[in-house]
């Protein structure tokens, strides 16, 4: 998509240099920007990704009210910055990079002194208490998982949520987090057994 000059309502005459990757599923959003319909682009962006961004913010922050505020900030910022979207990543990846930054800002502001289970991971894993034969049911897993994910470090929680809740590849996660894909993969792989041990410890069952 070539850069183009278009008048935008409320912005005045400006040069747009928005482009999208050819294989980006959200290419139509960028095309709306290019044609000057920034409002329609925002509405489409919210419709497609609002729920995902909210879910991510909610689990990353563990605070539904704060997550709603952050979700709104993400889309306000996206609305502003779509005018300069350069197509170096997909729109969704770019959007979650914004979300990640805003979540980190919000978490920093909250200044929550959090305890990380990773510090005690070995103790959790070596719990000598024999586990019952009964496997934990799905509802118990889901319930315990929320608390266990919340106790991961900020970086591990982000990586786990982006990978599994949002389904990003490690390469996409590298673009979002500004880290190497291998580093993120290792972080996720380290987090999984910690989560399993945490769930089993909390429920007293076997995953």
């Amino acid at each position: 998509m070539e850069p183009t000059d278009l008048p935008l309502p409320g912005v005045g005459q400006c040069t747009l240099e928005v482009t999208a990757k050819p294989d980006d599923p959200d290419r139509d959003i960028i095309e709306l920007i290019v044609t000057g319909d920034q409002g329609a682009a925002l509405r489409l962006l919210m419709k497609r990704h609002g729920r995902g961004v909210y879910r991510y913010c909610r689990e990353a922050l563990r605070d539904p009210t704060l997550a709603e505020d952050v979700q709104q900030q993400v889309f306000i910022e996206a609305h502003r910055d779509l005018l300069t979207f350069a197509g170096r990543s997909t729109v969704r990846t770019w959007l979650f990079a914004i979300a990640r930054h805003r979540v980190l800002d919000a978490a920093k502001s909250r200044r929550r002194a959090d305890a990380h289970i990773e510090d005690n991971a070995a103790a959790d894993a070596q719990d000598p208490t024999p586990l019952p034969d009964d496997r934990i049911d799905d509802a118990q897993v889901s319930f315990a998982l929320v608390g266990c994910v919340g106790k991961l470090s900020e970086r591990s929680r982000t990586a786990v949520l982006l990978r599994y809740q949002q389904g990003f590849t490690f390469e996409e996660m590298a673009e979002i987090c500004g880290e190497r894909a291998g580093t993120l993969q290792a972080r996720v792989m380290r987090a999984l057994p910690i989560l399993r041990a945490c769930i089993e410890k909390r429920t007293g069952g076997r995953l």
């Binding site: 539904p64 900030q73 005018l83």
Partner: protein
């Protein structure tokens, strides 16, 4: 091992599988419109305002001006109250007389019992509110400032036909305050701290406090 990790991965894919609160899109659009409105008179006429794509400061935390939302909410609530009063006058009570608001808190110790400490970090608390007015909610605070759970609507809420129930892990040390709230009108959304939330409406409350060590 592989099977358990697969279960874990599947559970992670569904974690927090909830919709964003209703009306959030409208609030985003309203906030953008409000920011545009605020920017227009301040901008000198000869040069039209341009968006700042550089190191712009993040916007204010409240994205929709409070007064507009409040006045709208009060208007709607006023209309609903008037309609309810008329209906009650014509046809009797709209809903059965409510029983007294009650709250019950229990907790499940996770680790081995330790002498001298009743509740420890990591224990799982379960709180249930029953009775009360037409609208009922549960709020949980840590040290009366940090809002850690809200029901209904929060991720710690459990379904129950006749009670409002929350279950949460007491993750940090401090005093946890469990508040059952009831009201004849919709309960305003809490934001913390506790004092401010309790002052926000004409609410009936029951409070239980737990010290977590």
């Amino acid at each position: 091992m592989t099977d358990s990790i697969s279960r874990l991965e599947a559970a992670l894919a569904n974690i927090g599988d909830v919709d964003a609160p209703a009306g959030w899109e409208a609030r985003v659009i309203a906030a953008i419109d409000a920011a545009d409105d605020a920017a227009r008179p301040a901008a000198p006429r000869p040069d039209p305002p341009r968006p700042d794509h550089g190191d712009a400061e993040p916007g204010p935390r409240r994205l929709l001006p409070r007064p507009r939302r409040l006045s709208l909410a009060l208007g709607v609530l006023g209309a609903m109250a008037a309609a309810a009063m008329i209906a009650v006058g014509i046809g009797g009570r709209l809903w059965p007389r409510e029983s007294r608001l009650e709250i019950e808190v229990s907790w499940q110790p996770i680790g081995p019992p330790v002498r001298g400490s009743a509740v420890r970090t990591g224990d799982v608390a379960r709180v249930a509110a029953t009775g009360g007015g037409r609208y009922r909610a549960l709020w949980v605070y840590r040290n009366e400032r940090e809002l850690v759970a809200v029901c209904p609507g929060g991720m710690q809420c459990l379904p129950s036909p006749d009670a409002t129930v929350a279950q949460l892990t007491l993750e940090l040390r401090g005093q946890y305050t469990f508040v059952a709230v009831a009201s004849a009108s919709p309960v305003p959304a809490p934001r913390g701290p506790l004092d401010a939330d309790l002052a926000a409406g004409n609410l009936t409350t029951q409070v239980v406090r737990l010290d977590v060590e």
